[in-house]
C-alpha cells in the first residue's frame, strides 16, 4: 500500500500511528500524489496532533536519547527515501531495542550511513555558510542544501554570533531560522523581498576575495584538490568563488 502524508514530522508520526493501529502493509511512502496508481492500494494520512503526540511519547519511552536524535536527524534527510527506513527503525525499536545496533540489518545500515552523511554536510556548512550584513545590522545567509539542516545551523550560529540578530534562509525549502532579541524560531517563508545591504557589505566581500587570492601558494596550485574539498555545488553563495 502506498501512503501519502504532508511531509511534516507530525504528519510522519501520525502515519506511524496508523500503520500500527490499522496494521497497514506499507510499500512506499510519498509526499505527493503519484501520477498513476495502477495496481497499488493507496491511503492518505492526515496529520493528527493527538496521534502524533502518542507516538512521540512512545518514542521517548522506548528509545535512548541518542536514538531519538537519530530519528530526528534522519527525518531531516528529506531528499532521500528516508521514510521507509525510518519506519523500519521504529518498528525494530518498539519490538526489540537491542536489535537497533545490528548493522547487518540493511535498513539500520542505511540509516547509519544516512545519518553520517547528514552530519558531514552539517559540518561542511558550518564553514561554508556565508552571512551578509543588512542595513539594520542583521546578518543574512542564503543556503541551498541537500538535506534540511537549518535547525543545526541555527543552533550553531546562535552560539557563535552572540547578540547579533541573524537569519538563515533555506531557499529550496522556503524555510528560515530567525533569531533576534524577541524570537528564535524556524518559520516558513513564502516570499522574501530583496533586502537592503549595509554600506560596508561590498567592501568586506572585496576584502575577503583579495585575502582568499593572496593566501594561495602558486607553486602548490592544485584545483582538483580544491574542488574535492569544496565541490561546485557548495559554491553558489561563497563570494570568493565568483569573479
Amino acid at each position: 500500500m502506498i501512503l501519502l502524508y504532508d511531509g511534516s514530522f507530525e504528519g510522519f508520526l501520525s502515519l506511524v500511528y496508523e500503520v500500527y493501529y490499522e496494521k497497514l502493509q506499507v510499500s512506499t511512502i510519498v509526499k505527493k500524489m503519484p501520477g498513476s496508481l495502477l495496481f497499488e492500494r493507496f491511503h492518505e494520512v492526515f496529520t493528527d496532533e493527538a496521534k502524533a503526540r502518542k507516538v512521540l511519547e512512545g518514542i521517548t519511552k522506548q528509545f535512548t536519547k541518542e536514538q531519538q536524535r537519530t530519528i530526528f536527524n534522519i527525518f531531516l534527510c528529506d531528499t532521500r527515501e528516508h521514510e521507509m527506513a525510518l519506519l523500519e527503525y521504529l518498528r525494530i525499536g518498539f519490538k526489540n531495542p537491542k536489535e537497533l545496533r545490528n548493522i547487518n540489518n540493511a535498513h539500520l545500515f542505511y540509516i547509519q550511513n544516512l545519518e553520517k552523511e547528514l552530519l558531514c554536510l552539517v559540518h561542511k556548512m558550518y564553514g561554508f555558510t556565508r552571512f551578509e550584513e543588512l542595513d539594520d545590522g542583521t546578518l543574512y545567509a542564503k543556503i541551498e542544501t541537500k538535506f534540511n539542516i537549518v535547525p543545526f545551523l541555527g543552533d550553531h550560529f546562535a552560539k557563535r554570533l552572540g547578540k547579533i540578530p541573524f537569519i538563515i534562509h533555506d531557499v529550496k525549502r522556503s524555510l528560515a531560522f530567525v533569531k533576534n532579541d524577541e524570537l528564535r524560531e524556524i518559520r516558513s517563508i513564502a516570499s522574501f523581498d530583496a533586502p537592503t545591504y549595509s554600506s560596508d557589505e561590498e567592501k568586506f566581500k572585496a576584502l575577503w576575495k583579495s585575502f582568499f587570492k593572496a593566501a594561495a601558494v602558486e607553486s602548490r596550485y592544485n584545483p582538483k584538490l580544491q574542488q574535492n574539498w569544496v565541490p561546485l555545488l557548495y559554491r553558489t553563495y561563497m563570494s570568493e568563488f565568483h569573479a
Binding site: L207, F211, A216, V217, E218, R220, L225, E240
Partner: protein, 410 residues
C-alpha cells in the same frame, strides 16, 4: 604612495601564506552566552584556496617590515619589496567583520620584526587587547611569539590567545647560523619555554603550542627532523610540529637553486605520516628510522616499518591489544577501536573486517583473522612488497585525494 586597506591585506596575507601551522582544531569550546564567538573543537574549514589548502583563519602579518635577514624569507631586510603595516585597530576590525560573515574561525597573527622585538610584540598584543576587551571576541586567536621578546609580554600573550607558537624554521643550529643569522635555537625556543612554564604555573596544562620546520632547504635527514620533533613533544613544549616543503622565494648561495627546486611535497607528506606515528601510535623516532636515514618514498612509514619487522607479523586481530593493532599497516586508531568492540561479540573473519569498513588493501598481508590468512602471499618481504606495489598507484600522489595529509592516519 598610500596603500589602501585592500592592498595591505593582499601584501600581508601574501607574506603570511607560507606559514602552515595554523589549524584551529583541538582548542576547547569556550562559548559564553551573549558574547561574540566561540571556538569549535574539531576545527572548521571555511574555504579552500586554489592550492587545496584549508582556510579557517585570517592569517596575516601585522607588518612585513623586518630588521632580520633570514635567507628563505620574502620579508628579510635585504629584499626590495613594498612594505606596509596594519594598525592594531584596522586588523581587529577586519577580524571582527570577517568573523561575523562566517569567513573565518578566528585570527592567526604573525609579524615581521619592526624596530625591535618588544615593540613588535606590543603591537601584536595591542591588537589582541582590542579584540578581547573592546569587542569581547571569544573566537580563536593564534599569535606568533616574537623570538627575544620579554617575559611579561609573552605572559600577556598566553592570557589573550588560544595558542601561541614560534617557528623553529630550520632543524639544526648549524642551518640557522647559515640561513637565519639573527636567530639562534635558544632565542627561538625561549619564548616557547616561557609560555610553557607560565601556563603550567597557572594550571596543570600548558598552553597549546606549535611550530613549523621548513623541509628541504637544508641538508638534515628525516631522522634528525623526527628526532627533534620527538624531543619537543617530550618536553611538552609543543602540541604540534608542522612541516612545510621549502618554497623558493629568494636567491641565496646557501639555498637550493629556485629554478631547480620544486617543493618536496611527498617528503612533507611522509613526515606528517611519521609524525602521526610519534604522537598517536606509540612509535619512537628510532623505530621509524635509523641514523641519518630518510623516509621511504614508495611506502608510508608504517608499512615500511612493518616490512622491516616481518618477524612480528602476522598479527591475530582477534587477540592483539590496541597498541599492537594500531601498528598494523592500514589499521588506524578508529579501525582498532572498531575491532576491539566487534570482537567482543564474535571471532572476526576477513569478511567481518570488510563489513566494519576496515581497508584490507595493506592490512591483509599482515594479519590473521579467525581461520583466514592471506595465503596467496606468504610473509616473505619481497613478495609482500611486490604485492603491495602491484595494487596499482602505490606512490601516493601527495595531497591529491588523500586526507591523510591532514590527519596522518595510516
Amino acid at each position: 604612495m598610500k596603500l589602501t586597506i585592500e592592498d595591505k591585506l593582499s601584501l600581508l596575507a601574501g607574506s603570511a601564506k607560507y606559514d602552515v601551522s595554523c589549524s584551529s582544531s583541538g582548542s576547547e569550546n569556550n562559548y559564553k552566552t551573549g558574547e561574540l564567538g566561540c571556538t569549535h573543537n574539531s576545527g572548521i574549514c571555511h574555504s579552500f584556496t586554489s592550492d587545496g589548502r584549508c582556510v579557517s583563519l585570517l592569517k596575516v602579518l601585522l607588518t612585513n617590515v623586518c630588521i632580520y635577514d633570514c635567507a628563505y624569507c620574502i620579508n628579510r631586510v635585504s629584499n626590495d619589496t613594498p612594505r606596509t603595516a596594519f594598525t592594531p585597530r584596522e586588523l581587529a576590525e577586519l577580524t571582527i567583520n570577517f568573523y561575523k560573515r562566517n569567513y573565518i574561525e578566528g585570527l592567526f597573527l604573525s609579524s615581521g620584526i619592526i624596530k625591535n622585538e618588544d615593540h613588535t610584540m606590543s603591537l601584536l598584543l595591542q591588537t589582541l587587547r582590542i579584540l578581547r576587551h573592546e569587542y569581547r571576541f571569544n573566537g580563536y586567536i593564534h599569535v606568533k611569539l616574537i623570538p627575544g621578546a620579554s617575559k611579561e609580554l609573552i605572559e600577556e600573550a598566553t592570557l589573550l590567545a588560544h595558542r601561541v607558537s614560534s617557528n623553529i624554521e630550520l632543524p639544526s643550529s648549524k642551518s640557522l647560523a647559515l640561513l637565519a643569522p639573527d636567530k639562534t635555537k635558544e632565542k627561538l625556543l625561549s619564548p616557547l619555554k616561557h609560555a610553557r612554564d607560565i601556563t603550567m604555573e597557572r594550571s596543570s596544562k600548558p598552553i597549546s603550542m606549535s611550530t613549523q620546520m621548513i623541509i628541504g632547504a637544508t641538508s638534515e635527514s628525516d631522522f634528525e627532523i623526527l628526532k627533534l620533533s620527538s624531543s619537543l613533544y617530550q618536553k611538552a613544549l609543543l602540541k604540534r610540529v608542522y612541516y612545510s616543503a621549502y618554497i623558493a622565494v629568494n636567491n641565496h648561495k646557501h639555498l637550493p637553486v629556485p629554478e631547480l627546486s620544486k617543493p618536496p611535497l611527498l617528503r612533507e607528506h611522509r613526515l606528517y605520516q611519521a609524525d602521526w606515528l610519534l604522537r598517536f601510535y606509540g612509535f619512537s623516532y628510532d623505530e621509524i628510522l635509523s641514523e641519518n636515514q630518510n623516509l621511504d618514498i614508495q611506502f608510508d612509514p608504517k608499512t615500511f616499518w612493518a616490512l622491516s619487522n616481518l618477524h612480528l607479523f602476522p598479527i591475530d586481530v582477534n587477540r592483539a591489544p590496541q597498541e599492537i593493532l594500531v601498528r598494523i599497516p592500514g589499521i588506524g586508531i578508529r579501525g582498532a577501536l572498531k575491532i576491539l568492540q566487534a570482537r567482543r561479540f564474535k571471532q572476526l573473519s576477513f569478511e567481518d573486517l570488510v563489513k566494519l569498513k576496515i581497508s584490507l588493501k595493506k592490512a591483509r598481508y599482515f594479519i590473521i583473522a579467525g581461520k583466514d590468512f592471506h595465503r596467496s602471499t606468504s610473509l616473505y618481504e619481497e613478495k609482500i612488497k611486490l604485492a603491495l606495489i602491484h595494487q596499482g598507484s602505490n606512490i601516493i600522489q601527495p595531497t591529491l585525494f588523500d586526507t591523510s595529509i591532514y590527519t596522518g592516519e595510516l
